[in-house]
């Protein structure tokens, strides 16, 4: 690998202690993001992709949730984010690593004017004066393609549409020139036409500033459009990862294959859209096994007994599946 990784997560585990037991929302996840690269984390709801993002931001255990990071390393440049104190982490958050969220409608403070909410990180991280921050905020509003930026700066969130609010969120996120932008389902709550605009905007800013994007989505259309590298998660684990073209053309894990098969294809009429049978397993009842075996059409005996590890296959990708373990084929 020529360039050093910008972000490298190793064996990250984030657990939630509930009354019924410990939920391993993120269970030994490893992934890396190189400078200027877009990495997509794909998976169903509840597979731990958002929690992975929150873990990077150091936001697990806030907002009334009871999560805790049980192990692993999150290396950003030359620092381990999990070992930083609150103050050090705060200077990275919103400055070098920024984040946008799924629900633009509720992500902005309803009682503060838009302009002020954009100014806050500028004052906090770039130490701009109030006046300079206001001028920069108005520039940023214009930059995310909203007309009448001066008026919008004085407006309140309820006066703007969801698409506009997500643009404002992007303006806040890019305000301090982050090296990494984490986008957690940024287009899920928006209309399809607006979705395309938001994705275009992210791509444009990425091209202009050479920032990396960690995009979290369940939408394979978004993945195909945005990703350089794809990480597929299932029940808190990475089951497959690889270059986007390779992964779309030659998916290895039965789960990835299922996901791709269940994606509707434009212009192709099908009587029934394929869906993966069964349901995501109850996270409280997971035993050492392949968590996908109950839904897998290739399930073997070994899949029920032991957990496959992520192994490199092909040129770039890796997969965690007994089908690709020679040992298993011999003994299974």
């Amino acid at each position: 690998m020529a360039t050093a990784d910008l972000l490298e997560i190793e064996g990250l585990s984030t657990y939630f202690d509930t009354e019924e037991g410990t939920v391993r929302a993120v269970d030994g996840v490893s992934l890396r993001v190189r400078p200027g690269e877009t990495v997509c984390i794909v998976g169903e709801s509840g597979c731990g992709k958002s929690i992975t993002a929150m873990s990077i931001m150091g936001l697990v255990g806030t907002n009334g949730t009871a999560g805790r990071i049980a192990g692993g390393r999150i290396r950003y440049e030359d620092r381990d984010l999990l070992r930083l104190n609150k103050h050090e982490l705060r200077t990275i958050r919103g400055h070098e690593i920024a984040m946008i969220f799924q629900e633009p409608m509720s992500s902005l403070n309803p009682v503060l004017p838009i302009g002020e909410q954009i100014m806050e990180p500028l004052i906090e991280h770039l130490k701009l004066s109030k006046k300079a921050a206001r001028a920069r905020a108005i520039e940023l509003i214009a930059q995310v393609g909203i007309a009448r930026p001066e008026q919008i700066a004085k407006a309140y969130p309820h006066e703007l549409s969801g698409g506009m609010l997500q643009r404002i969120m992007i303006a806040i996120a890019i305000s301090c020139g982050p090296k990494l932008l984490i986008a957690d389902e940024p287009t899920t709550a928006l209309d399809v036409t607006i979705q395309a605009q938001i994705l275009d905007m992210l791509r444009q800013f990425k091209a202009e500033s050479d920032m990396s994007i960690l995009l979290i989505t369940h939408d394979l259309g978004v993945v195909a459009e945005m990703a350089d590298y794809v990480v597929v998660m299932y029940a808190g684990k990475v089951v497959e990862e690889g270059e986007v073209v390779e992964l779309f053309e030659r998916p290895k894990h039965p789960y990835t294959q299922g996901l791709l098969k269940s994606k509707p294809i434009m212009g192709q009429r099908q009587d029934e859209l394929y869906s993966i049978p069964g349901q995501v397993p109850n996270p409280l009842e997971l035993k050492p096994s392949c968590y996908f075996y109950e839904r897998c059409e290739h399930a073997m005996d070994v899949c029920r007994r032991a957990e496959p590890t992520l192994k490199g296959v092909g040129e770039q990708g890796s997969v965690a599946c007994w089908l690709y373990e020679e040992e298993a084929i011999v003994h299974g």
């Binding site: 907002n63 609150k86 984040m99 403070n109 309803p110 009682v111 503060l112 806040i172």
Partner: protein, 318 residues
């Protein structure tokens, strides 16, 4: 905003008109009056007095006369004290206001601070301890806390005077006078604050806990803001919005006096005057006082409506 306030004022006048009718009817239909209670008077003298006070006129006419005077700012004449009701109010109400204003200030200040910290450290030992203490303070009756503190702080330790507003026979003026009043205020203010703090703290803590779970708080943290800024700029403002309703109720409470506290601490406030007038069936004074509270309640509600529109941009102006 202008039309909204005009409209609101119009409603206010209608409500007050209805309230005055209700208040008048209640007192007019209550059997007996100030004159009935005086056993020294002969029936002839009683009839004479009723004639003089206009109590033998038809009810509707009496209401008309009362309202006419009230609209001119004259709330009648206290029968027991032989002074205009307004003069008496002016004499006592500011003493009550002083107690209420100071204790309301401390109640809100302490409740907001404790509420925010308890919400921020939800289920910590601090939170648990505060909630237990607050429940205890809320559950104790005011006469008990009042007498208990008099026993400890005034009688046993002699730190503070047990009651009254000035030391008996005091001629202090200027700063010495102010200091004396402050020393006498301390105990009733402590008791009133203790009693009021509980529900307000729980209210603010609950609101804060709800607000802290909101997405925009996560955004504020993701922006890398200081926790202080997250708590006070982003969370507290939203948590205090519903409390604006309470401001409407605070206004009558500021002037209404407190029957029990003023009795225990022998504070010359409007509550004491009110209790005394009740025993004597001094109806003009009681009616005037009730109308005053009605006016303050209506104004308070109107104020909180206007404040909502100022504080919450989502509330649309009509």
């Amino acid at each position: 905003m202008g039309t909204f306030i005009t409209k609101r004022l119009l409603y206010t006048i209608l409500i007050l008109l209805a309230a005055s009718l209700l208040i008048f009817s209640l007192y007019a239909w209550t059997p007996g009056d100030f004159i009935t209670g005086n056993i020294k008077l002969t029936p002839e003298r009683k009839a004479e007095l009723r004639e003089i006070y206009g109590l033998n006129k038809p009810l509707l006419e009496r209401y008309g006369i009362w309202m006419k005077h009230a609209l001119h700012g004259d709330f009648g004449y206290s029968m027991a004290q032989q002074k205009p009701v307004f003069t008496l109010f002016n004499q006592y109400i500011w003493n009550s206001f002083l107690l209420a204003a100071v204790s309301t200030f401390f109640t809100w200040l302490i409740a907001v601070i404790i509420g925010v910290v308890a919400a921020y450290r939800q289920y910590s030992w601090f939170d648990t301890l505060v909630m237990v203490v607050i429940f205890a303070a809320m559950s104790l009756p005011s006469f008990f806390i009042g007498l208990f503190l008099i026993k400890i702080l005034a009688v046993d330790w002699k730190w503070l005077p047990p009651g009254g507003m000035l030391t008996t026979g005091s001629n202090a003026t200027g700063m010495a006078y102010a200091e004396e009043v402050v020393r006498h205020m301390a105990l009733p203010v402590i008791v009133m604050t203790l009693l009021g703090i509980g529900s307000l703290t729980r209210y603010i803590r609950g609101n804060m806990i709800d607000v802290m779970k909101q997405d925009y708080i996560r955004t504020a943290r993701a922006k890398g803001l200081k926790e202080r800024q997250v708590l006070f700029t982003h969370a507290l403002r939203n948590a205090l919005l519903p409390a604006i309703t309470l401001v409407g109720f605070e206004l009558p409470a500021l002037f209404g006096g407190s029957l029990i506290i003023e009795k225990i601490f022998n504070w010359p406030g409007i509550g004491q005057l009110y209790m005394q007038s009740f025993g004597l069936r001094d109806y003009p004074l009681l009616m005037g006082f009730t109308v005053l509270i009605a006016i303050l309640t209506v104004i308070g509600t109107m104020l909180s409506d206007i404040l909502y529109r100022v504080a919450d941009p989502r509330v649309r102006l009509q």
